[in-house]
Symmetry: C2
Subunit: 107 residues, 2 copies
């Protein structure tokens, strides 16, 4: 199955808790991050802000054990079902989506 990477060689990955079904985060993968994820069974991403491979939890300890990787119909997005060792968010929240979008937002 051929994945469709964007012009930067990246594909978005939605990370979902395999047990609670909570959506934890969205990050980006390049080919190397996907390969490392498959080889190690732990989520790896490409950090766009730091321009480098990122082993999720390498410093925080909050690794994500990957149970399954799914792909969408047009093969340009991945879904990782994971078992997280701790909070997904750098703020300490369990999920990065901890806030509802308020009534006021930039248009």
């Amino acid at each position: 199955m051929r994945l469709k990477y964007d012009p930067q060689g990246l594909i978005p990955a939605v990370v979902q808790d395999a047990a609670t079904r909570e959506v934890l985060m969205v990050a980006w993968m390049n080919d190397a991050a996907l390969q490392l994820t498959r080889d190690t069974g732990e989520a790896h991403f490409w950090s766009r802000s730091r321009s480098r491979l990122w082993h999720k939890g390498a410093t925080s300890g909050n690794i994500q054990k990957v149970h399954q990787i799914r792909v969408d119909c047009d093969q340009d997005t991945l879904l990782l079902l994971v078992e997280p060792a701790g909070p997904a968010c750098h703020t300490g929240e369990r999920t990065c989506f901890y806030r509802p979008l308020g009534d006021h937002f930039a248009r």
Copy 2:
């Protein structure tokens, strides 16, 4: 809360079934799509392939009633909790993520 749109003025939106917690699809929104979604309570996106606003379900009838919109920690991704009127995927599958990524994939 100021959202971070990408250079094309888009922000990715993960769509999750509010009841089953299944991840249904990922699509893109621009400011107008988000505004329409909030104004109508039904999911609207920006179709990158057709370069136009896209009222999900306008032709198929499979609209998505939006229960809540959540935003991630760095404000560059949205999560829509929806009540879908039918399959999210154009293939007729309930979710676009109907396939596990096989062992063989383009590297």
